[in-house]
Point group: C2
Chain length 183, copies 2
């Protein structure tokens, strides 16, 4: 349900605040098509200058609304997750993009977005969540590992990570993640 308030995270915006256990309400809600442009505008900054926004199609926000979320602190966008259910693999849900504003990282925003996503996936009988990233994105790899994802054996290796060499385009290796959400 759009606008449903499902998560209140205890967030600390800086070290001083963290020490004082300052609480900030983060609201997670289903994304709407209107959110697409707000997300596109922050992606380059959130991805260390890499502009991946051409891969985030607005059509997802029209047709995959139940699995697309934004996290906001008041009106400020602090995170998002865009996923969909695989139609080729009925048990699988895919996370196409997920990001958290740099100043809101390590405070549970990503975890809250993922959990919200898992809940919807499980409601639809999905038992596996997959996602992928570039092997240069060490932060993303570490994050997925902390979240319990395993790295799928591919057809190559980059910097010690298993990769699929042509997963999204030729000669652009991707690390593929997999998590069972049956528990």
């Amino acid at each position: 349900m759009i606008g449903e308030k499902i998560a209140k995270c205890c967030l600390a915006k800086d070290k001083r605040c963290r020490e004082e256990s300052m609480k900030v309400n983060i609201r997670i809600r289903q994304a709407t098509p209107e959110d697409h442009q707000r997300i596109v505008e922050v992606m380059r900054q959130w991805w260390d200058g890499r502009d991946l926004s051409s891969g985030l199609l607005k059509i997802f926000f029209h047709h995959f609304q139940e699995t697309c979320f934004v996290a906001e602190n008041s009106d400020t966008l602090v995170g998002f997750l865009v996923g969909f259910f695989s139609q080729s693999k009925p048990e699988e849900a895919y996370i196409h993009f997920a990001g958290v504003a740099p100043e809101y990282r390590r405070q549970g925003v990503g975890r809250a977005l993922y959990r919200r996503y898992y809940t919807v996936c499980q409601r639809h009988g999905k038992t596996v969540v997959t996602s992928c990233t570039s092997p240069v994105n060490l932060q993303s790899i570490a994050y997925h590992q902390r979240m319990g994802f395993t790295l799928v054996e591919g057809n190559g290796e980059v910097d010690g990570f298993p990769v699929f060499t042509d997963y999204l385009r030729p000669n652009d290796p991707k690390v593929l993640f997999r998590l069972e959400i049956t528990d």
Copy 2:
């Protein structure tokens, strides 16, 4: 089923051949991830020099295989259709891209691709197919109208066509098509 041969179209490759009713076998099959690059390489030519290929994500070929098709004449790619089921609107299926090689147009290839798509949609209980195009693409608008699609009333008008001004990005009006496939 990948590789299933479902359509034999009676095709004429040029006027002389058409007069002689020369038959060419066109094979339509489910697309595989390996087809993505072949399609990307022809899109600019098939779309009159407009490069829309960044919107054709390979991830569709991993996760929406049942609704992605290629049409081939022997090994030559002559058409494709990439669609998926809306997850927000359970009755609806969306055609993200469909194209036919210029030299194979007006010979039933597109119609065969669309029909193949409708069959899969109906098998999954879908009753509505939607798609969109730019108002500058008069050929696409005329094609959809010939195929029985209606133009959806939007929030604006361009060259006499109803448009949605921000459907896929801001200030980039799109004509939205809709067809009921309950018959």
